[in-house]
Symmetry: C2
Subunit: 208 residues, 2 copies
Amino acid sequence: MIMTASPAEPKPLTRIQTKNRAAILDAGLEVFSTYGFRGSTLDQIATAAGLSKPNLLYYFPSKEAIHAELLTGLLTTWLDPLKLMRADGDPVPELLGYVRRKLEMSRQFPRESRLFANEILQGAPRIKAALSGELKTLVDAKAQVISKWSKAGLITEIDPHHLIFSIWSLTQHYADFDVQVRAVLGRDVPFDEAEQYLVQLFEKLLKP
Amino acid sequence: MIMTASPAEPKPLTRIQTKNRAAILDAGLEVFSTYGFRGSTLDQIATAAGLSKPNLLYYFPSKEAIHAELLTGLLTTWLDPLKLMRADGDPVPELLGYVRRKLEMSRQFPRESRLFANEILQGAPRIKAALSGELKTLVDAKAQVISKWSKAGLITEIDPHHLIFSIWSLTQHYADFDVQVRAVLGRDVPFDEAEQYLVQLFEKLLKP
DNA sequence: GTCTATAGTCTGATAGAC
DNA sequence: GTCTATCAGACTATAGAC
């Protein structure tokens, strides 16, 4: 009798499995990003995915598992725009590029942004470790780069951590508080206007 | 038999009623601001208030009623800092004053900020009307004031609505995403630093 | 792989004793 | 005014037929 010793035999997924897993994750994103983890139910997710509840639990062992897979998949995507900021580039264009990429994520992935916002707003119980680990490490490294730019006189003297926080808050606002922005403006979120505004803001702010 | 015709006889509350209602509202704020409406349970609120669940429902008819009372009470408080911005004052100090008052609310009432954020993030089902009504009216009026300042050359040319959005997002970030800020900085939220940073940002931005 | 049926728990809310 | 007891429905998750 022949058995491989590998503990993690990577079973290939059938077409139907691939399709259903994708449907569940998309439905989970929709529901979790709207109601948070505790406020979401398997019934909602199953209905949104077009599956029965037991069938959904055939693909994922638990509600936690769906949420966890969404969050871990998301973190990488979320860090990418900041990773792309290069220390050897021109400071202002590098920072403005970061702002633009981040705003673009709010435009294209508002549900992902709200999923993340919900998790943090609710105390980040499932992702706190990654915040003080992976995220802090990356932010600290990039803050050092910004500090060097400041000291070299290439941009104004500025607190690099607060600068990064302000980029996060300003760009994510248009996704996370989308309902409020639309209610106040009386029209859809004008991302092109927002981009112009943010470019104006950061160009003036960063000027030495 | 004498009966007043008044449909809303304002029964005076006993001391114990006043105390218990306050305890329930405080507990509700704590729980709703952490888990959102759907994710919160009466059990949690009752425990936090030091009451039994039936006793809690003696003071408020339903979960909705507690949440509604918190939200309506909050809206006024939330609009006040903007209302205080005067058209006949000096533009830059008036706007910086607004920024400071708003940040001060994040510092002193982070739970209230998160309650509001949760509600909006989850689609604002219980407060959408106030957003397109009362809030929009106030914001539009103040936006006109800012526009006049712009046109008179007292501040830079700027989109007034996006300016207001940016004040909201920057100040509320320190309350709503408090866990993330603390994780990245590795220490408590430094509100004094934040204030200095935001003053620097808006002074540079507003300069004509 | 997908279904029905259901176990076992939690939820918002009520009844009725004290 | 406050409690114990409890309801009906919703909840996550499992068992087992097909």
